[in-house]
Amino acid sequence: MTASDVPNTRSRTAGEKKFDGFFVGLTTAFAIGTGLLLLAISFIILMAAIPAIREFGLQFVIASTWNPVQDAYGALPMIYGTLVSAFIALLIAVPLGLGVAIFLSENFIPLKIRTVLVFMIELLAAIPSVVYGLWGIFVLIPAMKWFFGLFGLQFIGPSMLTAALILSIMILPIIIAISRDSLASLPPDLRQASLGIGATRWGTIFRVLIPAAVSGIVGGIMLALGRAMGETMAATMVIGNSNQISLSLLEPGNTIASLLANQFAEAKGLQVSALMYAAFVLVIMTLVVNILAQVIVSNVKAKYD
């Protein structure tokens, strides 16, 4: 709309226009700054990791000794631990979270109760991870000891499985919240269309609603995976911090994040650089997960619109 030919429309003052421009510039700077932050962090880590990269090269990710005395470092057990604990956490949390999300997005129970439940689930995300860790040590581990005792199994306590269980609880709210939002934001037409040709409620949920919301759901799952891979405190407290690869989930293991948390304070020399290298590997891993998520989501979307 031009100001001159429309009555009752005042033209903008020069000051206003200037402020507008300034505002656009400011927000652009913030946005770019956030992106640069990611680059800056990765760059600093990479810089600090260079001595270790020189020393070990790609050998670092396939070697499995971590020996500060002899300055020999390989991160395979931690990479393995990070991936395994995160994937088992997903294995538990995805079906559970999706189920809860479906339940909360449908009208199985009155809206009031649903609202309370949603609020409580969101609170689950607000519990500090050190509290989860304590809960793991004092509640979960004794419970698991008792459970495995029933089968006559010796269970030491801190283990990959314990960590995976704790992680699954921690990522549950993310999966529930995002899946529920994407299910709830589907147009009501879709549900009616499906029911209108004689689909059952279950048929509608599993064959129309979930496929339609899949990009949001996958996005949520990937976000949760990233969170599980990077989670430090709770994992450190219950995983046992043993730099070994064991196929048994009941044995202790380690993740990159807990390795960093445990060793950074006392590390010096090449060890610092090796830890930085491990951190860099973790950054790359989460980056890959996120990129993968984007690719999956956009592939699924492309099919539809």
């Binding site: 269309a193 209108g196 040709i197 004689g198 339609a212 539809y304």
Partner: protein, 274 residues
């Protein structure tokens, strides 16, 4: 009026499809529609017209129990479908909706391919045939909705890649793919351009051979063009300050438009209100 309806039904060989008896429809404590009784004949197009908010959609959605999705909805009276009350406790609404399909105001294809949009209904209803038979069913349904020629080369593309009018015909094809007896349409053309509207109207005339069609329309020309019978619904204010819809007049379409018995009908069809 009632005699006329009865006479009309006697002429056609088969019986009445729907017989609505003394229906009051409520949303919570709000009475949206009162005291509707009417009979809908088979293999004809029956249109519902009337000012907005008088309960046309409400009644239409009772005919296949789609209103069950609304928690506060309830109904008194009977809706007989071939003599069987649809609201009897032993009736499965899922089965009802399979026999009585629905096309909505806004085209609402599934976010699936054109092929899967059609195949969905048969699949969930336990279609036993192989791929060839499904292909044939998809083709037959799309042909019935006069969409086949336009989409036969892109069956694997998304339903959303079609134009609005094509999407609506896709929805009609989807509805007929499960071989219903009745197709309900709630203002199926109100989101479409005139050319698409004409296509859908032609399609309805063809579908009439095989299906009973009930259509809500706010377009009176459309009612005169396609409908065999027309029901005029009106709304009147109630003491409590709200308004309640009722069936003002139901007759052959020519009668409703050419020789209405009620003043309200005459005012409406001559465009004096609504």
């Amino acid at each position: 009026m009632v005699e006329q309806v009865a006479a009309q039904t006697n002429q056609t060989k088969t019986s009445t499809v729907f017989k609505i008896e003394d229906c009051d429809i409520y949303y919570g404590s709000y009475k949206a529609v009162r005291d509707v009784s009417m009979e809908i004949p088979p293999n004809q197009i029956t249109s519902f017209i009337g000012p907005s908010g008088c309960g046309k959609s409400t009644i239409l959605r009772c005919l296949n129990r789609l209103n069950d999705l609304i928690e506060i909805f309830h109904l008194t009276g009977k809706i007989l479908y071939h003599g069987q009350n649809l609201y009897d406790s032993d009736i499965d609404p899922v089965e009802v909706r399979r026999r009585i399909g629905m096309v909505f105001q806004r085209p609402n294809p599934f976010p699936k391919t054109i092929y899967d949009n059609i195949a969905y209904g048969p699949r969930i209803n336990g279609f036993k045939g192989d791929t060839d038979e499904m292909d044939a069913l998809v083709e037959r349904s799309l042909k019935r909705a006069v969409l086949w020629d336009e989409v036969k080369d892109k069956l694997q593309e998304s339903g959303f890649s079609l134009s609005g009018g094509q999407q609506q015909r896709l929805c009609i094809a989807r509805a007929v793919a499960v071989d219903p007896e009745v197709v309900l349409m709630d203002e199926p053309c109100s989101a479409l351009d005139p050319i698409s509207t004409l296509k859908i109207e032609e399609l309805m005339m063809e579908l009439r051979e095989k299906y009973t069609i009930v259509i809500v329309t706010h377009n009176m020309q459309q009612a005169t063009r396609v409908a065999d019978k027309t029901a005029f619904f009106n709304a009147v204010p109630t003491e409590s300050g709200g308004k309640v819809g009722y069936l003002a007049e139901f007759n052959d379409t020519q009668e409703i438009f050419g020789n209405p018995k009620e003043t309200a009908t005459r005012d409406y069809v001559t465009g004096r209100f609504g």
